[in-house]
Assembly symmetry: C2
Homo-oligomer: 527 residues x 2
């Protein structure tokens, strides 16, 4: 429809012909902006100019083009073609980004910090959401800011607690930092997306059923339903793919295309399966990514492994860059309710407080359990606190909230979220390099006490509890049980899961001393 | 919009929630069908069952699921989600297929048969379109079939003259055949898409301006405008990309992702540039593919070359399989005007006649010029005639014609085209193996007289006109001039274009004796 009719001159049939040509021009502009972003990002990285990371650059490009389009105020058709449908966003842009997050997790540092990451991501995000929500609600009560109902405050708290790994991690990679700090920041920001989205949806469904008088217990059940259901379906699809590739015998040279086609289809299958079941596709595809990288990946032929890594990296880079451009553009184009500048200002203050509660609180708990030589040092905690950029997921959920919330509340939340996204991306993104240097956690071969102790660890948490048992409180015992259970997960993985789901000959290689190449592969990550 | 709201139970907001879940289920079904198609195609190929090629299998799967969906007659929401928008087809499915056609052209046999291929594709498709159109018009006049105006007959002739390379070529690859026959079939079916679409659009614009009384001369001008304009823009973008990658210095190891991102964006840029200019994106992207493979590709780093080849192969395989599934599904779902079975029957007869006029006529002209040892033998002509499958492009144009033509004429053309596509894909696709064996052109190391003479030829048409000058008519002289101009094009390419657009060290390798690997790469083609 948009394609073949374009030659028909305006005289013949003006509306369709013009609209189609506008579509072409619109997409052309988008591609040009993508190319420009990539080139700009490359040049800035070359010049070691860390004050404008790639994501900020993309955002600014979108912003500038949006402002220009707004000023020139041409045909509305181009504008409508730029404001692409949210459907496109959720169907084509978000899945590859989230999948790549899971897929590019470096297994060794991730699993050796598993307990801490889960604590930060699950408990910490929960704390941050509640704290933000309550503070915003109290701010409304005390006339500091625009007043929202409590449930909507909690929805805002949930969506704004989803941090974005892209920008900070690309700088971490450039400057080099400790592997464990990297794993903490990365793991936390990846998993907290899943947590934030589950919380948001739970709150959203609580809101729409407020009249039927549900109790707190039901809310918890519903949250667990969404989260555990999505997690299980994602993990299930991942394991299925592992078994398929283990036994299908596709790792012959001339079947590479078939192998890759199937491999590429599984994540999307997982996403849509969860959606079809009424669960969260995002959470599902994230865990499919983790499982597929950990098990399925080693069943592929070597060529396909190389291809799959590059493929998902490519697709997610394109999607990510596009999302940042789009955010910039959208901010310039949309009608925002700027009347509530106070709301934005205090929100930023509150999310800083909430993130502090998350990071320092959880770090305290983690340190209670960890032996002395594996404590998370204060400067790591500060770096983690500072790395709380908000990005695509917060934006997507805020976009969603426009439809979910009536009376312009969604619009207020959306405006505040986009403002927070832009400010954090530009300010935090631009100053991360300076921050890392100030905290003295920079350096490619940084050999802090933690980094050292991990090297001989083979990726597993050594069950060395000799130190630190002196102050044994009840809480501590509980936490230790949890810690042990994560330790036993890694043992389960090593002894049962990996042999069952992968070809046997890859076992040793997968978990032995990481080779230079492996580590690099893991660290490549985003951007 | 389709993602996050799914948990909201039907009680809260029934229409959106249900629709979104249906969308998930619909896409899930589509992915399952894709996976099934790939697996089925693989199993059949393993079993060497050539009567049901992959494309036919996909078509049948779509057909069966469509019939089942029709019988079960569930919620219309699933149905509407299956009938995806044409926009999706033209924006996301067609471009990669067409680009891959150009990109996977094996340069050596393509350029050594350049004159013949261009003759078949440009002149031959023109002949076939006109012959089909006039026969259908005459059939209407004599009450043999449904009567259409002449211009619409010519539009139908144009769209039905676009042959599809996928199925036949995959069988060619399986069974092995002479390189030159392969190049002829492939080159012809790739280029005639461009020709068919230009002809269709020219006729379409003639139709909408019938009242303003245009003469034949203007039609030719408009056709040349579309064709040459699109070709130039495609070639221009291709050359730009070649220069960019030659001088940007991106072929360093850790810039692979950037390199691939940019490389992947260029084809789409070309497509949208042409659309924005009011030209044909399909024609443009095809030539961008040819140019990028021939020049830009050798400027990439080795890793990116391997990745780009696999990437475009993957994307086009997915798109192609999806198109065949969709065609099958659509045929089962759409309301067809089956009242005109006669139209379908005679159309098939006529396109057979038209293709005979195309192939045997053009082969006669080509043979007039070629020296005795390079004549296209009669059995090659028959194989070429038989390989006239209709596929995605004919379907796409027919879909377009529903909008272009009033009073159900478009609907009639669409029904006839889908029927022709299904019949040719199933019948011709299933019998190509038998046909190739009957014509005795099968065998991986087939060493016919032509195959032999080419080996020592270095990919260039040797200007050896000693034989055949005896019957020198004027026509022959003209044809020879054309032949010489294509020869001089290969010289131009060797002496100027390749050194200018590619890094110098690749020259020799590119045009020297083809290595085993190169040939295999060329033959891999479609999937």
């Amino acid at each position: 429809m948009m394609e073949l009719n374009v030659t028909a001159p305006p005289a013949g049939s003006p509306p369709p012909g013009k609209e189609q040509q506008a579509a072409g021009v619109g997409i052309l502009l988008q591609i040009s902006m993508l190319v420009l972003s990539f080139v700009l990002g490359h040049v800035l990285r070359r010049k070691k100019f860390y004050y404008l990371p790639e994501a900020s650059g993309s955002l600014l490009i979108g912003l500038i083009v949006g402002v220009l389009a707004n000023i020139s105020n041409t045909e509305t058709s181009i504008r409508t073609w730029f404001n692409f449908h949210e459907e496109f966003f959720f169907l084509f842009l978000l899945p590859p980004i989230i999948f790549q997050s899971g897929f590019s997790l470096a297994p060794k540092p991730f699993f050796s910090n598993f307990g801490a990451i889960v604590t930060f991501a699950i408990l910490g995000t929960f704390i941050a959401s509640i704290v933000t929500g309550i503070l915003v609600y109290l701010g409304g009560l005390t006339f500091l800011m625009y007043r929202l109902p409590l449930v909507e405050c909690l929805m805002f708290g949930a969506l704004i607690s989803a941090t974005d790994p892209v920008t900070v991690l690309s700088i971490f990679q450039e400057l080099g930092t400790d592997m464990n700090l990297y794993a903490l920041v990365f793991g936390e920001s990846v998993l907290n997306d899943a947590m934030a989205i589950s919380l948001y949806r739970t709150m959203s469904s609580v809101r729409s059923h407020a009249s039927s008088g549900q109790n707190f217990f039901m809310i918890i059940v519903r949250f667990l339903e969404t989260f555990v259901g999505s997690l299980s379906s994602g993990v299930g699809v991942g394991f299925t793919s592992a078994l398929l590739f283990k036994y299908a015998g596709l790792d012959i040279d001339n079947l590479q295309n078939l192998e890759c086609c199937l491999f590429v289809l599984f994540p999307y299958f997982s996403y849509m399966l969860a959606e079809g079941l009424g669960l969260s596709g995002i959470v599902s595809i994230l865990f499919t990514g983790i499982v597929m990288k950990h098990y399925t990946f080693s069943n592929l032929s070597e060529n396909s492994q190389r291809f799959a890594t590059a493929f998902f990296h490519l697709i997610s880079s394109l999607a990510e860059t596009f999302v940042f451009i789009y955010m910039g553009f959208d901010i310039a184009m949309e009608q925002h309710s700027w009347s509530h500048v106070g709301f934005i200002f205090f929100s930023i203050l509150f999310i800083g407080v909430a993130r502090a509660a998350n990071v320092f609180g959880c770090a305290y708990l983690v340190n209670l359990v960890r032996p002395a030589h594996r404590q998370i040092p204060s400067k790591y905690q500060k770096a983690l606190w500072y790395s709380g950029l908000r990005g695509a997921m917060a934006f997507a959920l805020a976009l969603q909230s426009i439809h979910d919330l009536p009376e312009g509340h969604g619009q207020t939340i959306f405006t505040a979220t986009t403002a927070i996204v832009v400010l954090t991306v530009l300010l935090i993104g631009g100053s991360t390099g300076t921050m890392l240097e100030a905290l003295e956690v920079v350096g490619d071969d940084y050999d802090g006490p933690i980094g050292e102790s991990y090297e001989g660890n083979n990726g597993y948490v050594a069950p060395s509890y000799e130190e630190g048992t002196s102050s044994g409180s009840r809480l501590k015992m509980k936490l230790k049980e949890f810690h042990e259970s994560t330790t036993s997960f890694t043992a389960l993985d090593k002894n049962y899961l990996t042999p069952f789901f992968t070809s046997q000959n890859d076992d040793e290689e997968d978990f032995g001393e990481p080779t230079q190449d492996k580590r690099r592969g893991g660290f490549r990550g985003h951007g």
